[in-house]
């Protein structure tokens, strides 16, 4: 396998799975994966209603004072997590799956919040992220901000305008959480120069954006909404649901937003220290296409810097997935497939805070975390029917294999050590 093909499989994909067929033209292969709608969308049932059913069942069970309480939410969450992991392990559209993971991290909703957030997480990724990774950024932002997953996680469903009908009656007020993180993390970025007044004002714009449990969906509650026009970054937005929609459209197209998301994309696909010219190129594509994420993703694949091998350290989830795929391991193989990324420092769907997981090597190069990669490789290399190390090297790394790694692997004292060394090599730890 030539360097360019091997690099495309690792940098843009999730690592080659077993002996799956190799692409003829790597760039055409990447483009095909982004054509049309995601097959997972076409076949899937709406996920939110069954998540709300789990929440309702758990609430009902908790009202029974004694007896065994079935873990409806936990069961639901584990099933969603297993399905997501199975998808990343088996997919033949790994570039699309990488983008799903990238945007899920950009718009973090974390399992760490527990409870109803746990129940809705799978539905959130399926309904708010997945359909839009090749669509428009504005549509994704709108879907995220109206999805019960985000409204629960950043608590906007409890934010009440202090001068609204309910605010005056119950003496309730704002919760700024979603408004602040939307400006800081999802759109403009922290250095865009907005003020505390902008955050508070945007929180007022978003009052009344909540969740209707009976419909398992977004609802706008006029009696919770702060009356009057509001100003955010010098722009005025009307009272009502339309004000929030207009504010999000304004934010989605703001130059600071385009630059922020371009920086994140270029960092993910080229280097921990992205070249400002590359960022400007991608921001320009986003501007010219009105935020077309398919166009932006393909423009990233045309950056020269994106084809420089070995510049990105795999984060723990990427690393675990690449090892599983190389060994053709599936969930049916049992063990702790879903849990292993957590052992390496990055539990799936579970970042500590709303800014998600970091995307550069210093985030992941703690001594213990790195040595655990080697332990993890050694553990998996002990499985029965594991392939010989040099066979796997040819399949998964091709011409990326360095002479130094080859010599250590071939001189290792046991076949298991040889395979583990290959999986813990500098090349395999990168994408």
């Amino acid at each position: 396998m030539d360097t360019r093909t091997a690099h495309a499989l690792n940098r843009f994909g999730l690592g080659r799975r077993g002996i799956e067929p190799l692409p003829g033209d790597p760039v055409a292969w990447l483009a095909e994966q982004l054509d049309g709608q995601d097959p997972r969308i076409a076949t899937a049932e709406p996920a939110a209603p069954s998540a709300f059913a789990a929440i309702a069942k758990e609430d009902a069970a908790n009202r029974v004072p004694e007896g065994i309480r079935p873990d409806f939410i936990g069961t639901r969450y584990r099933a969603d997590l297993a399905a997501a992991m199975a998808q990343t392990l088996s997919t033949d559209r790994p570039f699309r799956e990488r983008l799903v993971r990238f945007w899920t991290n950009h718009f973090t909703v974390s399992a760490r919040a527990g409870g109803r957030v746990l129940a809705i997480l799978g539905a959130y990724v399926q309904e708010a992220i997945r359909p839009h990774v090749t669509g428009s950024f504005q549509d994704m932002l709108m879907a995220v901000m109206r999805h019960p997953g985000m409204l629960f996680y950043l608590e906007n469903d409890g934010s009440i305008g202090p001068r609204s009908v309910v605010g005056l009656r119950d003496k309730k007020g704002l919760n700024e959480n979603l408004a602040r993180e939307c400006l800081e993390l999802h759109t403009l970025g922290v250095s865009a120069g907005y003020s505390q007044a902008d955050v508070t004002s945007f929180a007022r714009v978003l009052t009344g954006w909540g969740v209707d449990y009976s419909k398992s969906a977004f609802v706008f509650r006029p009696t919770w909404h702060e009356p009057g026009e509001k100003t955010v970054l010098g722009q005025s937005f009307p009272e009502g649901e339309a004000g929030g929609v207009a504010a999000l459209k304004f934010l989605a197209g703001h130059p600071a937003t385009l630059s922020h998301i371009a920086t994140r994309l270029v960092t993910h696909f080229t280097s921990d220290t992205p070249n400002p010219r590359d960022v400007a190129t991608i921001a320009g594509v986003l501007r010219d296409t009105h935020g077309d994420l398919r166009a932006a993703s393909m423009a990233v694949t045309r950056l020269e810097s994106a084809w420089q091998p070995m510049t990105k350290l795999r984060d723990p989830i990427d690393y675990a997935i690449a090892v599983f795929r190389a060994l053709d391991i599936t969930l049916a193989d049992g063990g702790q497939v879903e849990n292993l990324p957590g052992v390496l420092g990055e539990p799936f769907w579970n970042p500590p805070l709303p800014n998600g997981w970091g995307d550069s090597a210093p985030e992941w190069t703690g001594g213990e975390a790195m040595v655990r990669r080697a332990d993890f490789a050694w553990q998996l290399a002990g499985r029965p029917a594991a392939p010989p190390a040099m066979v796997l090297a040819g399949r998964a790394l091709g011409d990326l294999l360095s002479p130094r790694t080859r010599s250590q692997v071939t001189e290792a004292s046991t076949p298991r050590d040889a395979l583990a060394l290959l999986l813990a090599s500098p090349e395999f730890m990168r994408r």
Binding site: P162, G366, M370
Partner: protein, 391 residues
């Protein structure tokens, strides 16, 4: 023994403890230890140390204020004006013993209400992002023989990142191969500027932690989570040639935008247990250790619409340890009347977090003003606090 063989194979022998023989020798050294506990997510300082004597507190946040001292589940009194949250019983006992103090109305040299930006600034010890954390810069100022810093967790926080190599320790999670495997692993990574230093640190720390933790645990089995990590951290720090600097962190339960009262009760109880375990693990070394508990900023003075509080400014910090001049609440109380609040919403800062940290480092390691200026650049305006350690 296996461990020494492994260390020798890796060429790491000098970084690994030499066993119990070193006890008598090492006891002659300075032996001072400094631990930072970071609470990520912004602890509501006025809920941890409640100014129940301030006439405005109940008006601003009635439902969030526990009953007065002496009442059922009431505050733990700190001298007639402030009261500690009832979940902090162990910390209160340290306070009563003169081993703990609180500093009210503390804030770093920044006014960001972004968690992530403020945490970065807090860890850099500056009003801007830097490439190293202030505790790593402290490590650089220690004598070479004592320049050992440890992050509790798989990855060091920014606070400890920088030019001085830093160890990490986390409980074992996977079965481990033999030394020969690690030796080849290091040979394979020998030219890698990113992975090689990390693997070296990880392996040397494993040797180190295996040595220290090898004896079977006595007493009741430690529970999981932060308290267990804290006890292990204490035990590592207690070793005569153990780390001099350490960082421990938790991000669970501080960002209380809603239902603050029950959530903070749990989070503070876990913190209290962890600090108690840290003291237990330190054992004799408690008298040579100072612990700083800090968070990136405080929360709004008033309760919000969802029974919680939003991002604010000044908060509380705690200092614990056997040599601390404790039993006091330090810092000037700014008051809670509308005109006294910062931007009419937050507790007004009256103590710079750097002043507190500088005062502790000066007392603990004898760092002078010039050294402290290296740790906290452009901090001349934040004079080191005095009187933090018993004479």
């Amino acid at each position: 023994m296996l461990l020494k063989r492994r260390s020798a194979l890796l060429g790491l022998a000098s970084a690994v403890t030499m066993g119990r023989a070193s006890l008598a020798l090492a006891a002659a050294a300075t032996q001072q230890r400094f631990v930072v506990v970071m609470l990520r997510g912004a602890l509501d300082g006025m809920a941890a140390v409640v100014p129940y004597g301030d006439a405005n507190i109940r008006g601003l946040r009635g439902a969030l204020v526990p009953p007065e001292p002496g009442e059922e589940n009431g505050l733990l009194d700190l001298g007639g004006f402030h009261g500690m949250h009832p979940s902090l019983a162990r910390v209160h006992a340290m306070y009563a013993a003169g081993d703990a103090l609180a500093v009210q109305a503390v804030a770093g040299p920044y006014r960001s209400r972004s968690h992530f930006e403020a945490q970065d600034f807090m860890e850099c010890g500056a009003g801007e992002r830097m490439t190293s954390g202030w505790l790593n810069r402290v490590a650089g100022l220690l004598p070479a023989a004592e320049r050992r810093a440890l992050a509790i967790g798989a990855v060091p926080p920014l606070l400890l990142r920088g030019p001085v190599p830093v160890g990490t320790w986390a409980p074992p999670a996977l079965p481990r191969p033999e030394a020969d495997f690690y030796s080849r692993l290091m040979a394979m990574h020998a030219d890698d500027a990113v992975t090689k230093p990390a693997l070296e640190i990880g392996l040397s720390e494993r040797g180190f932690s295996l040595q220290t933790l090898a004896p079977p645990q006595t007493g009741p089995a430690a529970r999981g989570g932060l308290p267990a990590l804290a006890r292990a951290a204490g035990r590592l720090l207690a070793a005569p040639d153990g780390p001099r600097l350490a960082a421990l962190e938790t991000a669970d339960g501080w960002d209380t935008h809603f239902a603050q009262a029950p959530r903070l009760t749990r989070a503070l109880a876990t913190l209290d247990e962890a600090l108690g375990e840290l003291k237990t693990g330190l054992a004799e070394a408690w008298s040579k250790t100072t612990i700083l508990v800090m968070t990136e900023f405080g929360r709004t003075a008033a309760i919000n619409g969802t029974g919680g509080t939003d991002h604010g400014t000044a908060t509380v910090a705690f200092v614990l340890g056997g040599g601390v001049a404790g039993g006091k609440v330090r810092g000037i109380w700014p008051g809670l009347a509308e005109g006294q609040l910062f931007e009419k919403r937050d507790l007004q800062p009256t103590t710079d977090l750097r002043s507190l940290a500088k005062g502790l480092l000066a007392a603990q390691f004898g760092l002078d003003a010039a050294a402290l200026e290296k740790v906290f650049p452009d901090s001349a305006g934040a004079e080191a606090m005095g009187g933090l350690r018993r004479a």
